[in-house]
Each structure stands twice: as structure tokens, then as C-alpha cells.
Amino acid sequence: MTKTKDNIIEVKDLVKKFGNFVANDHLTFDVKKGEIFGFLGANGAGKTTAIRILSGLSYPTSGEVKVAGFDVYKEREKVKKNIGYMSQKFSLYEDLTVRENIRFYGGIYGLSNKFIKKKTESLLERLKMQDIQNTLISSLPLGWKQKIAFSVAIFHDPKIVFLDEPTGGVDPITRRDFWEMIYEAADSGITVFVTTHYMDEAEYCDRVSIMDKGKIEGMDTPIALKEQFKAKDMDEVFLKIAR
């Protein structure tokens, strides 16, 4: 927990209350630059509340939180500029085309037209989606939408990308293709902060934190967590913590 230049997220004693309900109960953790950090927990454990605070959408009740070097109390706009966000739902406009969605998100982040145009071409090429660039998002398979949504979320080269259950509902091959995109992003230096209900995906993370009732009850590499909880896989670790 020492402060080093390598920490891209620093959270100390984060508390968030809604009335009497304590959604985040003294969370303390760091995320390192380029790390794939799995943020797990049961439904209602407080994950979404914490992600909303980390992405500058909600104020903590108390505690210190720094994201990409910026304070979430005083520098929310700077936090927002330096992060990307993708949820399973609502991340793309169904009635816009692939190209229009990319253009739209580029514009929101204040990128120049010239830059957007150039980067769109290389993105379409990398995704092998040149042929469908003028197709409406609504007519594409879910797996494609997710790939586009992820690409759009990191289009402005954020330092961190938050992925909230990005792989729900897709077939097992598409799910694995998606994880290869995550590995690639992390390899290029983007920090990936991901939530999932697939416990095998927890094993793909560099480190994992597991929340239960507002608290972090376990945080380490998947291998160390399995040793600590004497479990054969992450599914068992999760069941031991959250049950």
C-alpha cells in the first residue's frame, strides 16, 4: 500500500453511505499501471457504487480516492477525461451506424476531426469491420457490438478502462476473443478494471478483489487467493467469501 508512481488508482478508507446504509465500508486498495484488476462481489456487495465513485460520477462520503493522479472530489472532469467506461448495456447507439458511433464518442472526448478520421480507419481495419462501417449497430450480433463498444471506450487512449460485466450472454468463443482484446489493451499499457460473474474470467486477471456487504474480503493474485482460501479454483474462493 506504499505510494508509488506506478499506482494508477489509489483508494484509502473509502466510505459511501446512502442514509444509514453503508454501501462501501472503508475500502482501501491500489491498482497498478497496466494491470488487469478484477473487481468481484455478489450482487449488492457495493461494486457499482465504488465504480461510480472511481469514474467521477458520484462523491465519496469520506476517504481519499485518486484516479489517474486526479482527486475525485476536486478534479472530476480530469478523471472523466482519463478513463474509459463500458457496460454491457447502453454503451452504443443502436440507431447509429458503426462509423457514426465511433465519430460520436470521439467527439464527446473532444478529439479533433482529423484525429478521429485517421484513428477510425485504423480501428475499422484492425476490427476487420470496413465492410460493415455503415451498418446500424442494432443489426449486428452481440459479440461484434461488444468489440466495438470496447474499442470506443478506449478510443481516446484513456489511462484506465472500466468494464462492467462486459462478456454477459456471448458465446464461449466470442467471450475468449474479447479477453484477448483485454490482454492486448493491458499489454499496451491501459489499466483494465473489470467486473464479471464468470469465475473462470477472474483467473485471467493479474489481481482480484472480492467484495461482500460493502467490504473487501479478499484481494490478491488468483493463485495466492486460492492458496489462502484452500480452494481449487476462483469459483470456490468466491463461494467461501460470499456465502
Binding site: G44, P172, D200
Partner: protein
């Protein structure tokens, strides 16, 4: 397969079912049957056609082609009788959010001309867990509690068949396990259960499963039989550099598929005769700067089989 059907009664029969929306063929000629008392799983990703099939079984949609009977009744002509004997839990929470827990349950009981008391035994196990909150509005329940209420409402008229559309999607691992425990207890009471899920690991809880993709069934069998039909050598490999390992293995010309599975990668070979030995592969990888290399032969799981069938 034939043999089993002569011994048990088929409570659901689907024969060459097709469903087309405008130009999209959502279901492309699907046939299967479900025996009385069976826990049958329809397993596949979003867009595979699971919900369409369930809506046809529920008499909420007409088939474009094909014959479907439930309890020997035709889903098109005899829909009223079918509906009285069917419990349905749709994917989206569809109870009345502005009624309390108890009011919702009473409402569904009355629609089917029964009372909560009459069938209380059937739902008791599930309902007692939410009974302390019986005066709370349904819209204010947590996800897990909503699910238990929806299941109670689907069961309150003591149906012969229970159809559950992706009850565990978006639900955490603990609640998923609890939900399956509930289903297995219901099965013991003699209810035929048809359930869909995108989670491959849930297949093992079912008596039989149909693996479905793009409107077509790829395989129907018991989970054990689907696994024993895999028929290829499967190895699990890991090293200290997973991302690099995926690339390096994909580059090897004798390797067919490379898929991450938890901390390991599962690999298959282009030809099982031509495969290398553990030590040969290990030394190859160590030359490519991998350390802590571990290789073992493993048995396929349902997800391996699903991916194999997709190729």
C-alpha cells in the same frame, strides 16, 4: 434415445419447429422432446433462439412451421388449457413493482383460480426466504429476492411444467448456486422443468441438455454423454506468461485450437496421431522463454464441447 422414450412419457414434443421474424430465421427446424419429470436445459448464447422457443412453448408466439405439443395438447389450438398447467418465469422481471410481495403472490394465485394456502407446500422452501419482507413493494427487492418471488408466482398454481428463461443471467455465483439447488428440489416434487442459460457450467445440473447456437441444436444428450462424445485429445497448458502463451501456441502448426480456461489454456491438435509429447512441448515453450510450464491431459467440459461443435 429411442429406448428411453418408450419407457417415459414425453410431456413436451417439438417437431421441426421453425420461427421467422420478417427475414430473420430465429429458429431453424428444431426437434426435441422432454420427458415427464425431467430437468432439461437449453444452453446457448444470446441470439441462439432460446427465448423464441420458450415463447412458442408458452403459447405466446405462433410457430412459423412445425408441430409443438405440451402435455399432448397443441400449442396453437389448445393454448388455454396449456396456460393453466404451465408456470413461466420470463427473463425480465415482470411482476407488479408497485404491489407488495404478498399482493403479487395473491394476484397470481387468484388469476389461476387458486389460493396461496392451497399450494403453499410447493413454494414454502422458496417463499419463507422472502416472507419477512412480504409487505415490501416488489420493485424495492434485491435481485435475488425478486427472483425468489418470481419463482413463487410461477409455481403458485402448481403447474405440471415450469419454464424458466435465463433465471441466472447477471446473477452472482453464490445466488446462482442457490437457485439451482431450488430447481433440483422442485424436480424432486415431480415438476418438469425447462430452463435456459448462457452459463455452460450449469449444464451439469440438468438431466439432459440441448446445446443451441444460431437457431439450430448442435447436440442433445445427458451432460456425461456430450462430454464422452468430445472424442479428441485435450491438453491443459500453463506458463508464467499467459498472453504470450496464447500467441506462441497458436503459431505452432500442429496445434488446432487454443482457448483460455481459467488459469490454463486448453489446446487440441490438428491430428491426434501427430501430437507431440508433454516433454517435447515443454522444451519448445521453454526455448520461447516461458517458465513454470505445466502440461497435462484433461477431460473436456461442456464448454469445450460447445466450442468444438461451433467450429
Amino acid at each position: 434415445m429411442k429406448k428411453m422414450q418408450t419407457h417415459t412419457e414425453n410431456i413436451i414434443e417439438i417437431n421441426q419447429l421453425k420461427k421467422t421474424y420478417d427475414k430473420v430465421e430465429a429458429v431453424k427446424g428444431v426437434s426435441f422432446s422432454v420427458s415427464k419429470g425431467e430437468l432439461f436445459g437449453l444452453i446457448g448464447p444470446d441470439g441462439a433462439g432460446k427465448t423464441t422457443i420458450f415463447r412458442i412453448l408458452n403459447t405466446l408466439l405462433f410457430p412459423t412451421e412445425g408441430k409443438v405439443t405440451m402435455m399432448d395438447l397443441d400449442v396453437v389450438n389448445d393454448y388455454r388449457i396449456i396456460r393453466n398447467n404451465l408456470g413461466y418465469m420470463p427473463q425480465r422481471f415482470s411482476l407488479y413493482q408497485d404491489l407488495s410481495v404478498e399482493e403479487n403472490l395473491a394476484f397470481f394465485a387468484r388469476i389461476f383460480g387458486t389460493t396461496i394456502e392451497e399450494n403453499y407446500d410447493l413454494i414454502k422452501d422458496i417463499y419463507v426466504q422472502i416472507e419477512p419482507f412480504k409487505n415490501r413493494l416488489a420493485g424495492q427487492l434485491s435481485g435475488g429476492m425478486k427472483q425468489k418471488l418470481a419463482l413463487s408466482c410461477a409455481l403458485i398454481h402448481s403447474p405440471e411444467i415450469l419454464i424458466l428463461d435465463e433465471p441466472t443471467t447477471g446473477v452472482d455465483a453464490v445466488s446462482r448456486k442457490e437457485f439451482w439447488d431450488m430447481l433440483i428440489r422442485l424436480k424432486k416434487k415431480g415438476i418438469t422443468i425447462l430452463v435456459s442459460t448462457p452459463y455452460m457450467d450449469e449444464a451439469n445440473q440438468c438431466d439432459r441438455v440441448a446445446l443451441i447456437q444460431s437457431g439450430e441444436i448442435m447436440s442433445i444428450n445427458t451432460p456425461d454423454k456430450i462430454i464422452s462424445d468430445f472424442g479428441r485429445t485435450l491438453w491443459a497448458v500453463k506458463s508464467d506468461k499467459t498472453y504470450q502463451l496464447i500467441h506462441d501456441l497458436k503459431e505452432m502448426d500442429f496445434i488446432d485450437t487454443v482457448f483460455p480456461f481459467g488459469e490454463y489454456l486448453h489446446i487440441t491438435f490438428k491430428s491426434d496421431d501427430a501430437k507431440v509429447s508433454f516433454s517435447q512441448l515443454k522444451s519448445k515453450l521453454e526455448k520461447q522463454n516461458h517458465s513454470k510450464v505445466e502440461i497435462k491431459e484433461i477431460e473436456a467440459n461442456i464448454e469445450d464441447c460447445f466450442m468444438e461443435l461451433m467450429q
